[in-house]
């Protein structure tokens, strides 16, 4: 079985999630005894495309069409379907980032492929084709068996470590027969926080709750985040009260994140909050109430006043990192 990996990128710059996806595709192809092809849509530079081989891509297909420089589910899906047909791939892999989450089920429906959204492990292929994914907002796992000939898998970010293994890949152009109707989505503007690792990709996150008392107190969390090289998040009441912007809100109705380290400060640990963060590898809780439910979900904890604990923790981090 051959594998096609959809590679997301931002104006030609490839991020970790792209390497994770190639690596997953390469390992899956090796297991299934097939080849792995990476698909890149829109402008990207030739050397960067060939370098995807380092992470395991044997071939890179490139659709160099300026209309694809902005993501658009329908047009992207057409290109992916064309690439699946050309390569004869039976498995499509992509990152479960914002673009991948929109694209994968759209393509799956068009190919009548079975979908596993948010895989946390490699496929088990001894008896059918089964992939483990997280369900019930991180409270359980499900083993999803694909009953269709074609399979589409999206990968939970920050789950599969990319490793460098190969050399340069051959880059081949793919031309797709688009029509105007494929481009019904027009880019208007974007608003991106500059110079900060996005929450969904962050390996470390410092998060504040109502225990922080007010937006004027976020300075100590910013200092801690800076020392740890972490991204800021918050609980829902904090975003609802406009202490912090909505994109920082994590939990059941906010973002779902899976960093290596999640530091929760002045957050009680309501089940709806945990739903968004409980897959974090290590959780540190700072709360003045020893009975706060978050301690049950934590690996490390400090019972104490945030306004005293956080600056001391920041100092300790700086000292250890020689900052």
């Amino acid at each position: 079985m051959s594998v096609l990996v959809f590679i997301d990128h931002n104006q030609g710059s490839f991020k970790k999630n792209a390497f994770e996806a190639i690596n997953y595709g390469a390992q899956t192809a090796a297991k299934l005894g097939g080849t792995v092809t990476a698909l890149v849509l829109g402008a990207a530079n030739e050397a960067d495309l060939a370098a995807l081989g380092k992470y395991g891509a044997q071939q890179v297909l490139h659709v160099n069409d300026a209309r694809l420089n902005h993501f658009n589910t329908k047009a992207y899906a057409k290109a992916v379907v064309a690439a699946v047909n050309q390569t004869g791939a039976q498995v499509l892999v992509c990152s479960a980032n914002n673009n991948g989450k929109a694209l994968a089920p759209y393509v799956a429906a068009q190919l009548k492929a079975g979908l596993v959204a948010g895989a946390v492990d490699y496929p088990q292929t001894d008896n059918g084709f089964t992939v483990k994914k997280s369900v019930f907002s991180g409270k359980a796992f499900a083993y999803v068996t694909v009953n269709a000939d074609k399979k589409v898998i999206t990968l939970t970010p920050n789950t599969f470590a990319p490793s460098e293994q190969g050399g340069a890949a051959a880059v081949n152009a793919l031309s797709v027969d688009f029509s105007d109707a494929d481009f019904g989505v027009k880019f208007v503007s974007e608003n991106v926080v500059k110079g900060e690792v996005p929450l969904s990709e962050a390996e470390r996150v410092v998060s504040g709750g109502r225990g922080m008392k007010g937006p004027e107190n976020w300075g100590i969390l910013e200092d801690l985040a800076k020392a740890m090289d972490a991204t800021l998040a918050c609980s829902r009441p904090v975003a609802d009260a406009h202490w912090r912007p909505h994109h920082e809100h994590v939990g059941q109705t906010g973002g779902t994140i899976r960093p290596n380290l999640y530091v929760a400060v002045g957050i009680s640990g309501a089940i709806q909050h945990l739903a968004g963060v409980n897959s974090s590898k290590t959780i540190v809780v700072i709360n003045k109430d020893a009975e706060a439910p978050f301690f049950k979900a934590a690996d490390y904890g400090v019972v104490g006043d945030a306004f005293e604990v956080v600056p001391k923790l920041t100092e300790a981090v700086k000292k250890a990192k020689g900052l």
């Binding site: 991020k15 019930f136 907002s137």
Partner: protein, 247 residues
């Protein structure tokens, strides 16, 4: 302008999650079911706001599920919406669900289909895109804003580290998340009105499942929290660096 809002039934956010039948079935005993929060708070409420603003004439709700879904549909009708359909199929395969709804969309001709960003039980975030994929409609996932003017929508969606704004032609499927609408709760009048709003049961169309859950598993229990006092911050940092290896 006719809007279809897709409503999934979901276990209450505080429900205890457990499984029966050798970990092959979700244990519904003692579980209260609610409207999937994204569908209620973002998709449905935004549809109601658009109708109140005079930008939509009619809101229909649809849920794919068995008779035990009716109570949740009535709850949704209490918030708003003119009538509802329940498509009679019990499945959790996103293709089967999406194919049912796509068929209804084709029959009734909706200009706009709204879903939640994901269901809180299966967390696929798939059904909206499946509907759009089957019909060849435009699709915007993880949307945080939606404005309408004539046959065009202006939609903002989450991208890594921020959001982007797009102009999109109708018909269109949008999956809704935070930012989309102002929170609201049903009032007495809405609850009374919901009882008499039409809820039509529609037979399922043929669309076999392309995936199935063969087994569930609980995550390994946490080891228990290791506590540090405020004077042991160096030790905590050492643990994060040397034991957890996350700093």
């Amino acid at each position: 302008m006719k809007i279809l809002v897709c409503i999934a039934k979901a276990p209450d956010t505080t429900a205890k999650i457990s499984f029966t039948d050798n970990d092959t079935k979700f244990n519904e005993a003692g579980v209260t079911f609610i409207i999937n929060p994204y569908d209620e708070m973002y998709a449905l409420v935004r549809a109601i706001e658009l109708k109140e603003a005079g930008l939509a004439n009619e809101i229909h709700l649809v849920s794919v599920g068995g008779a035990d879904t009716d109570a949740v549909i009535r709850k949704a009708l209490a918030l708003g919406g003119d009538s509802a359909f329940r498509i009679d199929a019990a499945t959790n395969d996103p293709y089967t669900i999406g194919a049912q709804i796509a068929d209804l969309v084709q029959k009734n001709g909706y200009d706009l289909v709204l879903t939640g960003k994901e269901s809180i039980d299966y967390n696929n975030g798939a059904v909206g895109a499946v509907i759009a994929g089957i019909l060849g409609y435009n699709y915007i996932g993880n949307a945080s804003k939606l404005e309408l003017s004539g046959a065009e929508a202006t939609v903002s969606r989450e991208i890594e580290g921020g959001e982007e704004t797009l102009a999109v032609g109708l018909p269109l499927v949008v999956a809704c998340q935070k930012g989309m609408a102002e929170p609201r709760i049903p009032n007495m009048r809405g609850i009374m009105a919901a009882r008499t709003k039409p809820l039509t049961v529609v037979p399922a169309v043929d669309a076999s499942a392309l995936s199935s859950v063969t087994r569930y598993e609980m995550p390994p229990a946490k080891q228990g929290v290791k506590l540090f006092t405020v004077d042991q911050m160096d030790d905590l940092v050492a643990a994060l660096i040397n034991d957890a290896k996350v700093l």
